[in-house]
Amino acid sequence: MSTSTSATHAHKAEIFCKDESRVDWHSKALWMLREKRDRAAGSLPEWEQLRQIGSEMKLHTLTHLGQYLEEFEQNCHKNNIKVHWAKDGAEHNRIVHEILAEHNVKKLVKSKSMLTEECHMNPYLEQRGIEVIDTDLGERIIQLAGQPPSHIVVPAIHLKKEEVGDLFHDKLGTDAGASDPLYLTRAARAHLREQFLSADAAMTGVNMAIADKGAVVVCTNEGNADMGANLPKLQLHSMGIDKIVPNIDSAAVLLRTLARNATGQPITTYSSFYRGPQEGGEMHVIIVDNGRTDMLKDKILAEALKCIRCGGCLNTCPVYRRSGGYSYNYTIPGPIGIAVGSQCDDTNSMPWACTLCGSCSYVCPTKVPLDKIIHHHRRLKAEAGKLPYGKASYMPLVGKFMASETALNCSMSVARMALKILPGSLLKPFSGAWGKYRELPVAPNSSFEAWFKKNRG
C-alpha cells in the first residue's frame, strides 16, 4: 500500500465525476478539439510523413543534445543573448530572480509556460515581492481563481463561462451575471493591456530553440507573448533542454503539426522568432534540465522528450476527458503527464489512469509511444515495489489464479451463472471500483474455451 498523503488518481477522479453533467460537458469540449484536429490532419496528404519526420528529427536531436545545446549557446552569444543553465526548478527560479532583482523588476508579465509551472516559479517570485501576471487568457483566469492549469493548451477548459463571469465580476469589476465570452474577453484585454504597458520585464516559454541560429520560437494565438516581450526592455525565456531543434527547416516541420494537432488551426496566429534583444534591451534564455537527463537514461522514457506539448493526447484520452486535469498528481495531466510525471507521483497511481487504448500514441505529431511508456511505468512501479491500491498484495494471487486452468475455468463458469441469475444490485459490490460507473457485462452462454473447442478445435 502506498503511504502517500495525497489522493490517488481514481480518488480525485471520483470528486470530478460527482457532477455528471460537467463530466459530459468536459468530455465533449475536448472531443470537439479532437475532431478539429482530425479534420486538420486529414486535409494534409503528407500528415503521416510529417509525423515520421517530426519523430525522427526529435530523436536525432535528443541523441545529439549536448552538441546542439552548446551550438545554441554559442550562437546566442553572437546574437547578444545571455544563456543560463539550471539543473532543476530551484536553480531555475533562483536564476530568474537574480536577473529580475538586478533590474529592480516589480512586475513581470508571463506568457504560458508549462515549464515555469513545473518549477513552481510564480509563488517563488511572489514571495520575493515580484508581481507575476499570467497573460494568456486561460492562464489569467485560473490565476485569478487561484488554481493550477487543468490542460496544457486550454488551461481553463474545466470552467464554465458563468464561473468565469463571476470571477471577473469579483476581480475585474465586470457586470454581475455577465457570461458572454466576447464581453469577458474584451474586459480581460483591457485589463491585461494595462499590465503589459506597466510591466518591467516579460517571460515566455519556448516552443523551439534553433541551434544553428541561436534563436527561440514562441507560438501564441493571443499575441500575449509578443505584447509582453516587445514592450519592456527585459525579456526572459525558459526552455527545457528538449526544446532544441537543429535549424529553421526542422522548426518548420513542427510548426506545421503543432497547431493542427492542438486546436485544428493550420498554424498559431503568431509564431515569433527572437534572434536577439530589442534595441537597448536585454534577452536571457534559461536552459533547464529538471529531470530530463534522467529520463534520457531510460530508452523507453527518453522518447517522451519528443513531445512538443500540443495537448492532442489529452484531448483524445478517454480517461483524461472524464477525470479532469486535477486528478493527476502532476502539473501536466493526461497521457503525456503520466509519461513525464509518474516518477513524481507519490501515490504511484498515475500509470493506471490509462486504458492502454493507444489513442494518444496514434494522434501524437512526433510519435511519442505514450501507451508503451505508460505500460513501462507500471513495470517500473512494480519493480520498485510501489504498486498502488494494494495491487502488490493481490496481483501475485491473480497471476497464480489465472495460471491455473482448473481454478480459472471453474470460477468463470460460476461467474457466468451468477451474472445470469443474480440481480445486478447484489453482484455490483463485488466488482469494486471497476463496476462503480459501469454496467456489469452480459454473460455469454459458454466460455471462450468451450466455444473454441466446439467451433475451431
Binding site: L59, G138, R189, M227, I267, R275, Q278
Partner: protein, 189 residues
Amino acid sequence: MSSKHDILNALKSAAIAPQAMPVIKVAPRIDDLVGQFEASLNTVAGTLHREGGLAKLQAQVDEQIAQGMQIISMLDGIKGNREVTDTAHQLRDIDYAVIPGDLGVAENGAIWVNNKNLGHRVTPFICENLFLVLEAKTIVANMHQAASKLTLDSGEFGTFIAGPSKTADIEQALVVGAHGACSLNVYLV
C-alpha cells in the same frame, strides 16, 4: 558554469543510440497559390484584398483618418497620420498599422514580417487593427519553402502572422481580438 557541465555530462549516459537526421523533403502543392493562400487566410479569420492594391489601401487609410483614427504606416507609398514614436509604449493608441509582409504561406495564410519594417517590434501587436501588404509573387506553398526563404539576421526579430489575434479560452468559444490586433486585412500587390 557548473550546472552546464553537469547537464552536458549527464547527457553522456543517454540510452538511445545516435539517430540520423531525416531528410526533410515534402512535395509542395503548387497549384493556385493565391487561391490557397486566400482560403487559408479566411480560416484564420483574415481578409484578402486581391484587387486594387495600394490605391485601395490608401483610400481605406484616408477614410479611417477622416473618421479620426490614428494610423501609422511603415510602408513607403502609404501615408498615415502618425510617425514612429520614441518609445514602444507610445504606440498604445494606434488604431491601424500598415506593415509590409516579406512572404506569404499558402498552406496556412501566415505572413512573415521582419522587424526591419516595424519601427518598434511591438507595432503589429499593439495596434487595434492591422493592414499587411504582400506581393503576390512572394507567396510560397508551405512552411518548408518559407523556412528556406525567410531572413532573420543576427539580433533580429521576425514573426509569422496568421490572422487577427484570437482566443477560445472561455468555453471554447472563438473570440477574435485577444491581446494583439482585432482584425487583419491583407492587400495583395
